[in-house]
Amino acid sequence: MKKKAVIELSHLYKSFGTTDVLKDFNLNLFEGENLVLMGKSGSGKSVMIKCLVGLMEVDKGSIKILGKDISKLKQNELDELRTNIGFLFQGSALYDSMTVRENLEFPLRRHSHNTEKKTEALVKEALESVGLPETIDLMPAELSGGMQRRIALARALILKPKIIIYDEPTTGLDPITAKEIILLMMNIQEKYATSSLIITHDVDCARVISNRMILLLDGKDYAGGNFNELASSKDPKIKAFFK
């Protein structure tokens, strides 16, 4: 049976002045899959995910998340829909004036009506799932880059989202920490049965984690398939990604 698409991007166009960033870009993320989107720096990957979560408006095209067209949603409906999406930012984007505990409590306090005890338990569970329960009362500035990325992942997970979007999850990390983050992403996918959209140009990360891949080139979904299909392609433009 064909799986249901949780994200459907159809014929997206986005330009800045005379620069066309997305030109007829299409993407479907199906339930339970890990879809990797690869592209060169400046190819429009970040623009695409900003459009996807409603931080930017597209010029043309439609974006459906969990069957809902986001351009037709009111702000409160969009905010409600966003609670189904966990987002791991490239720079972690932890609130630096708050402790780790407060960072994790922030989405919980806004979107659920849990008791203090339940909130505490959820925070501890999320921290344990990323292997950092001891950091609960530390400030983000006291953590290393890899630890910050894990805490950001815990924050993205805390509302038990159906979809997680990873923006360059391993960029700026040493190979060992990058590998730990990849393993963590796989564990999370297994434990929470989320659908993941992973934006990366890290070939190792793509090889390990992807069920399916899409290459973003010249603003279009240039090619798609699993890692082996794309890595063995004869097309020089595709081969360039796997060198």
């Binding site: 930012f89 490239q90 932890l94 806004r110 979107h111």
Partner: protein, 211 residues
Amino acid sequence: MGNKSLLLVSVTGFILGLVFTLQSRPTLMEFGAVSWMPSMISISIVREIGPVIIALICAGRIGSSIGAELGSMKVTEQIDAMEVSGTNPFKFLVVTRILAATCMLPILVIIGDFVALIGSAIIENAKGDVSFLLYFNQVFEALKFTDLLPATIKTFFFGFAIGLVGCFKGYNSKKGTAGVGKASNSAVVFTSMLLFVLDFIAVFITDIFYN
């Protein structure tokens, strides 16, 4: 933001009172009008100098802090993270800061004015042998409701301007850390100019109503 600015506002107010009294004394003595000192100082400080100087100090202290904080949150994607988590960052970050600045500035100005009058009273006591009781009797005799009300009302607008400009500049900052510095700097510069314009408008309107 109010309690963290209290020391700065108090020190500024105290020195303002001291210096203003020291500088005015010789001129008033020359005209034999030194007994008018408490009235002159209190009216000048409460009506004009206190609100404007303290608002400028707060524009530097609070406006720059808001601009830098929001600017830094913007460039490190913290504001985007908030929005993506389904929280309206405008309500959470901007409205609260503008409200806080609007409510706190009048309180800071009242405290600053009072401390400035204490500073002035100390000089009068030391140089002119005027007791504190006599000094403050004259101050309260000179000050009228029409001095206090417009001066207090305008400080709400000053606070609003400090919060609004700081938030606007920070929220719209771009281009990395350089952008944060620029946002913080332009928040102070723009707020300072805006405060003088608002002060002029406030004085103009007060003049129409009371004179």
